[in-house]
Point group: C2
């Protein structure tokens, strides 16, 4: 029994591709790109030794990737890092004039779009403040489309071409990756964004917490491959990353940490339940408990007052941290993640949330204390996660886009 | 972007094998076996059309599997089912004289071992009642080993050979699949079962709830590939099956539903927490609430009294069902499974648990009501799951065992 159930999980890039000679070639193209992405610049020989193929086989793959505009051969004037490359002139890097991932965020009070190249650099960016709560999807997505056009134009001016558009929304998204099933804070229900957005770009729509979690996986420093990413904008959401992949659930609704019951007889929640986490740690609940009026940038205001020693604000954040700790105890018992990462608005409030959160978590769970870390990306996570998801799709299956450049 | 993050999950058997020509051959051997397992008896031509390989390629693979004793060519006296097979004599079936999976359960009050052949038939079985709580691991595993020897001897008498041993334990198992980290109801801590069990059989040790969930996945009727399997023996455990695979967690401890907080200020639990699900729905809590003394087969007694209309027992089971519903609300919000399956002892008590459980779950979660189903396997799940895990490992990588027959 050399393949016990523990080891049945696959590894490596391009794993969704069919198991044929053609599929193997596509997987190997992906392996070359991922290797250069992770460790580049690298020579052909270095790539070959890392992925266990012959130098000749790798050269064929590299030539194809260069022709497709995905890899660059760095000239002799830009030698690779010492010790990595045999001949300086032969170092390979991901192209900075190839495909770009376009990421977008539909927020309750803003719209934002950016473009990221294969090297992970943000190359263009546009933002628009707008009170989107309760507006119909058509005009909102119309404004978003204008921002997308602006970012695409800027991107093309730099010699890049858009490989796809990924949109983060504050709500539940169906597994078709285009329909917003329910976004209570926008008051959108069953909205097909695919019908409203330009159809000349491959589209992926996903929940903002999912993109935030993926950003942490791809861009976070020292983040493991098994973690629970908790974020808050208006609601509270979580992304469950298991073995480097997002756990989405049957309908795509996994990660609804905000509706985990904290006190089963607590206050009624809009979801139909009682005593959900959002009733204790959601933005509105915290503002109410702190005696702060709703308005723009309330997170900044809470952080400022907490830093200034405001007792009401600190007590409200302690209460929210404690409720988060109770809900996370359940999540940690169910999922056994390696770590919990606080992202989004929670990252900015972490100094006042963490002590109560960690106290609940450590007294309620056995074994070594759980690491709770704070995201470096904070509120940028969903936007970067969206743009990078397009770039990752190119790295995972370069053959699918190489005909379109 | 033809490979969005939603579709990055792999499909099909043998997916853990390396991506080389040799790995492809091993995966194709596995595909042939899985196809015959799922739909057999089948002719070579039928297998070829189902897995998309040429008849000649399949014949080579089939010949290798017949030589290894994993496939049988059924004689002309045993024709395949009508419409499935071209020539009756050429139908292929899994061998019933090939490898057998040996499954074992270490229970608090019994030890049990069985052997299952490639066709899924139980071919031998042995059980021993014993009060194992608080006994040292050495003598208990000594008795288990005697039962294993007895079942292996019986199996070999029928022309089968044991391909591996899988042991279900009521506790947390490390990801090395041999060390019991903590089994509170046996009072075992850090026990390496690999050092105590015979070393002539490949060994896998796992939590009983995990094997129960896998049994449901492999043997349950109409069970989807995304579900949460909840079971109770002394404690309460869950197995999370996502896209047909068990979610194990970083340390192997996922599924601790029994320690999800139901009422954060509730009674203290042995785990260090307060108000855990086990304090409301664990066997001891339910017996206490029902006014029933602890003892042997208390589940049978509870079911009998509840069926007879005993008001105290019914109230206790309603309370347990309601606590299960609250804890499952959290789990469903986090994981979005297609269904929840009640297994183990809970299956026998389902008629009195389900109404309160479903009431909590449906009033606390949005969307269509969650299907809660009852396992047909009940307390047999962990034993069958263990034995079948060995058989599955053979189907997943036949090349790994074919040299050992």
């Amino acid at each position: 029994m050399t393949a016990p159930p523990h080891e049945a999980l696959p590894a490596g890039p391009g794993r969704g591709l069919p198991d044929t000679q053609q599929g193997m070639r596509r997987r190997n193209l992906s392996r070359v790109l991922h290797t250069v992405h992770a460790e580049g610049p690298l020579s052909r020989a270095a790539v070959a030794s890392r992925i266990g193929l012959t130098r000749a086989a790798v050269s064929t793959l590299v030539d194809e990737l260069i022709r497709a505009g995905l890899l660059d051969e760095l000239g002799p004037e830009r030698p690779g890092r010492a010790g990595r490359v045999g001949r300086p002139g032969s170092a390979l890097a991901l192209s900075d004039r190839g495909p770009a991932g376009i990421g977008a965020v539909v927020g309750v009070d803003h719209l934002e779009v950016c473009a990221v190249d294969l090297r992970g650099q943000v190359r263009a960016r546009a933002v628009r403040h707008a009170a989107n709560r309760g507006r119909r999807p058509g005009p909102v997505i119309g404004e978003l489309t204008a921002l997308v056009r602006q970012v695409v134009t800027e991107t093309e001016r730099e010699g890049l071409w858009p490989a796809g558009l990924a949109v983060a929304v504050p709500g539940l998204v169906a597994r078709d990756a285009r329909t917003v099933v329910r976004a209570p804070n926008l008051d959108w229900h069953g909205t097909d964004l695919g019908a409203l957005l330009p159809d000349d770009l491959p589209l992926t729509v996903d929940n903002e917490a999912n993109f935030g979690g993926l950003a942490e996986l791809w861009l976070g420093e020292g983040v493991p491959r098994d973690f629970l990413h908790v974020s808050a904008e208006i609601g509270i959401g979580a992304a469950l990353v298991v073995d480097g992949r997002l756990l989405r659930g049957t309908r795509g609704f996994a990660g609804e940490l905000g509706h985990v019951p904290v006190r089963p007889e607590g206050p009624a929640c809009a979801c139909g339940g009682r005593g959900c986490l959002e009733q204790y740690a959601g933005k509105e609940a915290v503002l109410r408990a702190a005696g702060v009026e709703p308005g723009e940038d309330r997170v900044g205001l809470l952080a400022e007052r907490a830093a200034g020693g405001d007792k009401d604000v600190r007590r409200a954040l302690r209460g929210a941290g404690s409720a988060l700790g109770i809900a996370l105890t359940g999540a940690v018992n169910l999922l056994d993640p390696e770590t919990v990462v606080l992202g989004g608005a929670l990252a900015d409030l972490a100094p006042w949330l963490l002590p109560a959160l960690e106290r609940e978590l450590s007294r309620r769970t056995t074994g070594p204390a759980r690491a709770v870390t704070v995201s470096r990306l904070g509120p940028e996570g969903p936007l970067l996660g969206a743009a990078h998801s397009v770039v990752r799709a190119v790295l995972d299956d370069p053959a699918a886009v190489s005909g379109r450049s």
